[in-house]
């Protein structure tokens, strides 16, 4: 398929040398907009800005991050789905790309059919943390405690479709129990109530929890990544403690469907350059995450992750019966 496309492109280039070069070879000739479907300053926005900075240098054109927030990221994604597929409007979305088709029963776009995947970027690990005086001290104790107390335990999350809500669903799924889930308008207020002891427990991205864990403001139980984290070396992984709960807030870069293969290839190369960049690696480390490997920063890897995650979340969400519309 890929061969066929490049063959077609080659024919096109031979037949219409002028138009062809103007279209794909000179790309990019003007600034590129990367839509982030969340507010500026959030974790996804931060990832986007760090990557966009280096991609700009590589592409020789400004890569501008545009925040189109609202409706759990579906507004921004919907906007890119219908945008012109000339390679100048891209989407940087996280795990929500795979949960939206199930969470929203009337989604106006199709995450697989309406986009060309460019590549995976990073998977931000999550941590299970609780208020300081929460009874259990280890993950084993936590699991037993939650099983014993069920709905008497309050679990905070940052709204439907948020990473913390997804992690909570997985956790309850793994333990086959229910807790009282309390939604907040974002991670900040949820963390405030954990620190203040108003609520028991949350599973949230390292971006939001690392500094509070290091300062001893919250009690941490485990990290949901396959390996321990560099900046929280004492925190065991969920697998170490025998809990089957692995989740990372994976981020991907997409172009609208039908974008020229040569353009996608160029973007893929720029993305790889960005992910290998020293500043990006060190900033990601401060956020408690690492860029994906070179093999994963590819359209194939993103397409596969996306479709397998859509399947995974369809099962989890339908079982929980929680929808966003």
């Amino acid at each position: 398929m890929k061969k066929l496309v490049s063959l077609a492109a080659g024919v096109l280039l031979a037949g219409l040398p002028f138009a062809g070069s103007a279209f794909a070879q000179d790309y990019p000739t003007k600034p590129i907009t990367v839509v982030v479907p969340f507010a500026a300053g959030g974790p996804t926005d931060t990832v986007a800005r760090l990557v966009a900075e280096v991609m700009s240098q590589d592409l020789g054109q400004q890569v501008v991050v545009q925040n189109v927030g609202g409706a759990g990221g579906t507004l921004g994604a919907g906007q890119v789905a219908t945008a012109s597929n000339d390679g100048y409007t891209l989407l940087l979305h996280h795990i929500g790309m795979s949960t939206a088709p199930t969470l929203y029963r009337s989604l106006p776009y199709d995450p697989t059919a309406d986009f060309e995947p460019v590549g995976l970027i990073t998977a931000v690990p999550m941590t299970l943390v609780a208020k300081k005086d929460f009874e259990p001290n280890t993950l084993e104790e936590l699991v037993a405690y939650v099983k014993a107390n069920g709905e008497n335990i309050t679990y905070a999350h940052a709204g439907i479709g948020s990473a913390s809500q997804l992690c909570g669903m997985l956790f309850m799924d793994a333990l086959d129990t229910q807790m009282t889930t309390v939604p907040y308008q974002g991670s900040g207020p949820a963390m405030t109530d954990i620190i203040g002891g108003q609520i028991d427990f949350i599973c949230d991205q390292t971006t939001n929890t690392t500094s509070q864990i290091q300062a001893g403001e919250v009690k941490a139980y485990a990290v949901t990544s396959p390996e321990r984290l560099g900046n929280l070396p004492d925190l065991p992984t969920t697998a170490e403690s025998g809990l089957e709960l692995e989740i990372g807030v994976w981020h991907g870069l997409y172009a609208p469907a039908g974008t020229d293969a040569a353009i996608v290839e160029r973007l893929e190369a720029a993305l790889k350059t960005a992910l290998a960049n020293e500043t990006v690696v060190s900033r990601f480390a401060e956020l408690g995450t690492v860029p994906v490997s070179e093999e994963e920063a590819t359209p194939e890897a993103l397409a596969e992750t996306l479709s397998s995650q859509i399947e995974l979340w369809r099962g989890v969400i339908e079982e929980a019966g929680v929808y966003a519309d």
Partner: protein
């Protein structure tokens, strides 16, 4: 001793010439965007975030903080001059500030706003320096029941916002509460009053509603009769405060500063209440409450001090615990992270120069703002002599561009038109827009905290009276209602007497 040394360190950072420059750029930009209706500090900081990439952490954060509190100064300018509040806090300033401007006292109103804000800013800076960590700890005692009680108190006390019928004010608050419900229910994701439009899922935009019911409605009203147009008052009596004015604003500024400083520390929405609370307090304490709504200088002095104090103390939860109190603070978190600093309890120890530098820069910024704003008053007042037919279309256009630029959501622009018409209808019915805006801003918070408290208590409403802080606040709210109703009853009795005579 420790604090003095720390403040010394802070000032050595803040008074670094480059940082003074960034601080100045920040407060200047803040003043400008505060003046331009539509473009608030949130949008500005969001747009400038990428630029701060290349600055030093201190420079970047000093500049962004400057934009935020600078906008609190600037926001009052349009509220006073043309009845267009750009922020919920300046909605209150518009009530009496605009009336002062209509009476040719735009100068003193602007001067009061600037001086009140400066004083409040100075006090809040000292509070930040001396008591930030304990204040942040105290604020953590506020959970959902406490916030619910606080907002109930705020809503009930704010009936004083209206100078007409209490019934109409209540109706406006309720209408505002309903408008605040538009959008996705945060607990179930259910869209409410969205008429099937995905663009309405995140609710109505505050700026659109404010520009509509205040600004556009005022323009429509003025179109009714071209000859009696009263927006522009050519005879500006004086620019500076008279001795009498100064005497009248001292106490409101002090009270506003105290109220604002305390409310600002509460991350769950305290800063929104500050100016409304201060206005209500001033009206209650005033010997001449009938002047409120007719251009009472106290009605500008109190709320302006309160909102500036709150703007600054709302940095306390962010700087000491790393938790954002509102969307602007969430952006500041993003700015910290972009600079490679994760905001949290450790910032004060790991980055003392940055922590104290930001605090000290706030005072420097306030000095800069006063120096910048006092000479500008003359210029602002002159702006009123721009022909109405040029000024107002331009302002509405700016507002539309500003609203659109925040979310790229065309519905935010439509909303300006819709609420302009609604606002005009309300004016014709003798209803006031301020209580409506208050309901609109506080409604979602009220609902959020009420439902969260009930979820956490697993459906037991007694949490509101068994938790001491919440019980106290609700008792105060009850007292406020009784006090509000009593004179009404007495007056009615008198009226009955009069009729019988």
């Amino acid at each position: 001793m420790d604090i003095i040394a720390s403040l010394g360190l802070g000032f050595s950072v803040a008074l670094d010439p480059t940082n003074i420059l960034y601080c100045f750029i920040g407060v200047l930009l803040g003043t400008v965007v505060g003046c331009l209706p539509g473009i608030g500090p949130t949008a500005t900081i969001a747009m400038l975030l990428p630029i701060t990439f290349s600055l030093s952490p201190a420079g970047a954060l000093i500049m962004l903080a400057g934009i935020y509190y600078g906008a609190q100064y600037g926001g009052s300018t349009t509220a006073i001059l043309i009845n267009l509040p750009g922020e919920s806090s300046s909605a209150v300033t518009a009530i009496d500030g605009y009336q002062m401007a209509k009476r040719g006292r735009a100068g003193p109103a602007l001067a009061t706003a600037a001086l009140g804000s400066f004083f409040a800013g100075t006090v809040a800076t000292l509070l930040l320096a001396f008591f930030a960590p304990p204040l942040a700890r105290a604020a953590l005692n506020f959970g959902a029941p406490e916030y619910f009680a606080l907002i109930v108190l705020g809503l009930l006390v704010s009936i004083a916002l209206a100078h007409g019928s209490i019934l109409k004010a209540l109706a406006m608050i309720v209408l505002g509460l309903l408008l605040g419900m538009v959008g996705q229910d945060i607990y179930t994701g259910q869209p409410r009053f969205t008429l099937g439009f995905r663009e309405l899922y995140s609710g109505l935009n505050f700026v659109s509603v404010a520009v509509g019911v205040f600004g556009v409605a005022e323009i429509l009203r003025n179109l009714e009769n071209e000859k009696e147009r009263d927006v522009m008052v050519k005879a500006v009596k004086n620019l500076w405060l008279s001795k009498d004015d100064i005497r009248r604003i001292v106490a409101p500024v002090l009270r506003g500063t105290a109220l604002g400083s305390l409310l600002g520390v509460l991350p769950g929405g305290g800063h929104i209440l500050s100016s409304f609370a201060s206005y209500s307090a001033e009206k209650r304490l005033s010997k001449t409450p009938e002047e409120f709504g007719q251009g009472a200088i106290e009605g500008v002095a109190g709320p302006e001090s309160a909102n500036n104090a709150a703007a600054q103390t709302s940095f306390i939860p962010l700087l000491t615990l790393g938790i954002p109190a509102h969307p602007v603070m969430a952006l500041m978190v993003g700015a910290f992270i972009l600079q490679g600093i994760t905001p949290g309890p450790n910032v004060i120890n790991d980055q003392p120069a940055l922590f104290w530098g930001i605090i000290a820069s706030m005072w420097v910024g306030n000095v800069l703002l006063v120096l910048l704003n006092l000479p500008l008053i003359g210029l602002w007042v002159k702006m009123l002599s721009i022909p109405y037919r040029a000024l107002f279309p331009a302002i509405v256009l700016f507002a539309c561009i500003g609203c659109y630029s925040i979310n790229q959501n065309i519905f935010d622009v439509y909303a300006i038109g819709v609420f302009g018409v609604l606002g005009y209808v309300l004016i014709r019915f003798g209803c006031e827009p301020a209580p409506l805006l208050l309901g609109f801003v506080l409604g979602p918070l009220l609902e959020e905290h009420l439902r969260r408290a009930m979820i956490i208590s697993r459906g037991d409403p007694s949490v509101f009276v068994t938790r001491p802080i919440s019980a106290t606040l609700l008792a105060l709210a009850l007292a406020a209602v009784i006090i509000a109703v009593l004179p009404g009853i007495r007056r009615k009795r008198k009226e009955v007497f009069v009729e019988e005579d």
